[in-house]
Symmetry: C2
Subunit: 160 residues, 2 copies
DNA sequence: CCGGATCCTCTGGGATACTG
DNA sequence: CAGTATCCCAGAGGATCCGG
């Protein structure tokens, strides 16, 4: 368990499933959050905000790549592995499971021999895909600036 | 060094700075990538695509939160730490440095006593902020579906 | 108040071998 | 071919102390 816990928060953590992996320590009851008067939109900053969990799901390199890949068209497991360079078998499966759990990806098994498994974006996943796609565009458009900035930074002698 | 290396790629890796931390193993010469005939927009999947590096920068929970926070207004270091619940001193500094290196955040020091440091989004950072903001919106709108899906998934007895 | 330096823990993630 | 189970290590990240 991580140390930040529910420190100081009015202790009503009630999404048992959420906390199952170390990354997302959850989070308080959703209803509470929703009933609360509209705070700062970025109550995301509070550990208690369930939205942070969604961050955990898209804040994952592999997940983004997988979603992006499925955005083009449905794929079978092996295709994904070959398409996404550098992903390991383990991480692929793991990522797909998580996405499936979150309802972003649907998994379809064909009991053929050899076995075959297809992955599809759900409508929910597709909607997120829109953002992923913008991310890709942004990257392509601004990669130059970023790289330049990095070079400048690394050259500078007086960085903090 | 990670094992995926430049396997099979026409070996022209030339961004020394990139590889400095383990996370982004880089990546091939940018010019090459750009000169290449327009491939699949998601050549991001190739390890050789510099765009992946940008992914590394936004694919970081803390970075997203920091950018989101600065999106509201400039902040001083301490404010950020207090605002973003759960971030440690170390991670905050580290994240800010990375964002600064990438040219997304500007750091301004006031030689007062006690010292004071302000952080501001650069125009570049602000443009990325647009996407970050959409991410937040998406999260708020779809968190219910995601949570429901998770509960369903966890209840189901026959998951893979 | 800002943040660098250390130490130490724990886990993310690769490599490998095995089942159906 | 798809997926699980094991082993194992580098490095992400927290806690702490210190110095400007």
């Amino acid at each position: 368990m991580v140390s930040i816990g529910y420190v100081g928060v009015d202790s009503v953590p009630k999404h048992p499933e959420c906390a199952q992996d170390g990354t997302n320590r959850c989070l308080g009851d959703l209803k509470v959050t929703k009933a609360d008067p509209p705070l700062n939109p970025w109550n995301v900053f509070k550990v208690t905000c369930p939205t942070r969990q969604v961050l955990n799901c898209i804040t994952d390199k592999w997940a983004v790549l997988v979603v992006g890949c499925l955005l083009e068209r449905d794929r079978r497991s092996g295709e994904l592995r070959r398409e996404i360079e550098g992903i390991s078998q383990k991480m692929l499966t793991q990522t797909l499971r998580a996405l499936e759990r979150d309802g972003l990806v649907r998994r379809e098994v064909f009991p053929s021999v050899p076995p075959r498994v297809d992955y599809t974006l759900t409508p929910l996943g597709r909607s997120l895909g829109g953002i992923v796609d913008q991310l890709r565009e942004w990257s392509e458009q601004h990669i130059d600036q970023v790289l330049q900035s990095q070079q400048r930074y690394d050259k500078a002698p007086d960085k903090p």
